[in-house]
């Protein structure tokens, strides 16, 4: 795959290519070769903050670290005394680029897959959101955090631009964020106030999907709804055993509560179980029945992308996958169970169909309908940019022989082809309109009629449409004009005889 590499302190972007299954170590070697430095003094990062590191030097492939072709990777060179610290995490990346975040003095202990170890990367995050909040207190602070960090995004976007950003299509950072991403960012900034950890990040991610699906948090002890995830997370001490449970209910259920006296509020419970780098999430109704739903989330895959969301990063593909996994695997089934249990009218509406079915519906539509569908809302915009979908549509509409080796390009390509076909059609109809032949086939042989006013004529247009033939009083003034433009038109017909 091709990657873009850029030092932290300049804007000079290098392009390197590594084999598809390459490991992080191989990538470092490749970069080191290009910039003529030693690979062990290189520090790589996707979002400038969190260093990329492999659990063992030759094992972790770039893909497992969430790196896809076209990604922008920042590097910095650290002094040689830390040469042998390949396994050391989160070396201070670059004090120069600092968004008011405090200087971190100490290096954390090596990160392992052990759940007890704090992940220092997230401290950065916590610090960031913490300090920005100090600067901008009050309600709007979450939004402000997002904006405060826009600097990052703006910069990396700029690079996207100079590197044919359009071709990135689905991956590109210019992609408008979905409501889920926005929600996630908000919840993240709220929830990572204290000591952040990978697990927490996953929990918060799941929580955002649930909020987005229409659930509200619920405190089963006090029996009241909970706003935001802070209070849900409050129950969770980092040192506690790793079974955490969240309760959710629906606004409709809460509003029903008053009407019947001894109404028990139906809730759905999520239980999180952490097994090394995997988070198992089990969902079921508190009152039992209708089984348990489970999804398994891989932290190595999702954590880098989710944490970069909170700093406006651009790894949306993984975030989308995360969202889809949780929505289809947990949120929707629980929503249906909960509604059935509480006797509520069914929840499904188009937006709450599993995304797989939504995509299938889009597959039945012609390209222009899909594009218009993408203008309806952000989530649909997200959905309607699916590369595979456009590839399929392209092949349907224009045949597969015009195949492209460039992935993520299909929608744009479709639009280009669509436009030019449209133009061709338009010129054809415009020609018809300018030189009306009254329903005759376009390529009907045209007589070379140099003296059209000579009467009488036999055959041709004049026989079929006698109205066209003079007397000129029939269409005074227009007819000569028409005839004048008519003569050169003889060449259009392509008839030579």
């Amino acid at each position: 795959m091709k990657l873009r590499v850029r030092p932290l302190d300049s804007k000079e972007t290098l392009r390197i290519e590594v084999p598809n299954g390459a490991s992080l170590h191989q990538l470092k070697e490749a970069i080191a070769q290009t910039i003529q430095s030693s690979s062990s003094s290189l520090r790589l990062s996707l979002n400038r903050n969190d260093e990329l590191f492999a659990s063992s030097p030759h094992e972790d492939s770039l893909q497992s670290l969430g790196i896809a072709a076209g990604d922008l990777i920042f590097y910095s060179i650290v002094p040689s005394q830390t040469l042998d610290s390949d396994s050391q995490p989160s070396v201070q990346m670059e004090p120069g680029i600092d968004l008011g975040r405090g200087h971190r003095e100490t290096l954390e202990s090596p990160v392992s897959q052990n759940q007890e170890t704090l992940v220092s990367d997230l401290d950065t995050l916590a610090n960031e959101s913490g300090s920005t909040r100090d600067l901008v207190p009050g309600e709007g602070s979450n939004l402000e955090v997002g904006e405060g960090e826009e600097g990052f995004a703006a910069e990396s976007m700029e690079i996207d631009d100079d590197d044919d950003g359009e071709s990135m299509g689905f991956l590109g950072s210019k992609f408008p964020e979905s409501c889920f991403v926005r929600r996630l960012r908000r919840v993240l900034n709220e929830g990572l106030g204290e000591d952040g950890r990978d697990h927490k990040l996953m929990v918060i991610g799941v929580h955002s999907v649930f909020l987005e699906s229409g659930f509200v948090g619920f405190d089963s002890v006090s029996g009241t709804p909970v706003d935001g995830c802070r209070r849900l997370l409050d129950n969770w001490r980092p040192s506690m055993a790793f079974t955490l449970s969240f309760h959710y209910t629906l606004p409709e259920i809460l509003s029903n509560e008053g009407s019947t006296a001894s109404y028990v509020i139906e809730t759905a419970a999520l239980k999180f179980q952490i097994m090394g780098r995997f988070v198992n999430v089990f969902g079921s109704l508190t009152s039992g029945g209708s089984g348990t739903h489970r999804v398994c989330l891989d932290e190595h895959k999702f954590v880098p992308s989710i944490s970069s969301v909170s700093s406006n990063g651009d790894s949306e593909r993984e975030v989308y996958e995360f969202w889809k996994t949780v929505k289809d695997g947990l949120a929707l089934p629980l929503l249906i169970d909960l509604c059935a249990k509480a006797g509520l009218p069914s929840p499904p509406c188009f937006m709450r169909l599993p995304s797989e079915l939504q995509l299938k519906i889009l597959e039945f539509l012609p390209g222009n309908d899909i594009a218009r569908m993408g203008c309806v809302s952000k989530e649909l915009q997200y959905l309607s940019c699916n590369g595979d979908l456009w590839k399929k549509k392209f092949e349907e509409e224009f045949g597969s022989k015009a195949g492209s080796h460039v992935p993520f390009h299909w929608k744009k390509k479709f639009a280009t082809y669509w436009r030019s076909r449209r133009q061709r059609e338009e010129t054809a109809t415009a020609r018809l309109r300018r030189f009306p032949r009254y329903g005759l086939p376009l390529f009907n042989p045209i007589r070379r009629d140099l003296n059209p006013f000579e009467l009488p004529h036999i055959g041709g247009d004049y026989d079929r449409l006698p109205g066209l033939v003079p007397p000129p009083s029939g269409r005074p003034g227009r007819l000569p004009l028409f005839r004048r433009t008519y003569s050169p038109n003889c060449n259009f017909g392509g008839s030579s005889g």
Binding site: P176, M351, K360, F364, D369, C375, S377, A415
Partner: protein, 163 residues
């Protein structure tokens, strides 16, 4: 495997139990039009009662009705099946309200009734086809969550689809 030589038909009956306890007795040939049930029958062999905790009785009934028609049409006459099925499918989806449609779609998806899923997704697609953005929003009760100016930008990007 069935040893009964006394009965004229060899069809076996299956009991399907929906989430709300409603049970349906259907011929195996009908129920196995649904991939999920087909798998269960093949895996579990002689099990006659199949519980489907994720499907409500009302929609399971409709799904089975569809299966029955298709199974019958396929066995009874050789020619003109497609015509009959098509006509019947059209009738089947014609008057579905959106709510039922989505429920049915999800039930069919859960039961892996591929043909039925295709039929229903096509029905939803037909509700989108040729509509303006505002009309789509109204049909599906979707609120625009674009920020001011964002929508114009996206429309501009997709202007080819509006021509």
């Amino acid at each position: 495997m069935s040893s009964s030589s006394t009965t004229t038909t060899t069809t076996r009956l299956l009991m399907l139990k929906a989430s709300d306890g409603v049970t349906f007795e259907v011929e195996e040939a009908v129920a196995t039009k649904l991939g999920a049930i087909n798998n269960m029958v093949e895996e579990e062999g002689s099990e006659d009662l199949i519980c489907l905790p994720n499907v409500n009785g009302k929609f399971l009934g409709m799904v089975l009705e569809w299966c029955k028609k298709h199974a019958n049409n396929n066995t009874n006459s050789d020619k003109g099946n497609d015509e009959v099925n098509k006509w019947w499918d059209k009738e089947f989806v014609m008057d579905l309200d959106q709510n039922t449609l989505y429920h049915l779609l999800m039930a069919a998806d859960y039961l892996s009734g591929t043909e039925l899923v295709d039929l229903l997704t096509e029905k939803v697609a037909s509700m989108i086809r040729g509509k303006k953005v505002e009309e789509i929003r109204e049909t599906f009760k979707i609120k625009s969550d674009f920020l001011p100016g964002q929508e114009e930008e996206i429309r501009k990007k997709n202007s080819w689809a509006f021509e």
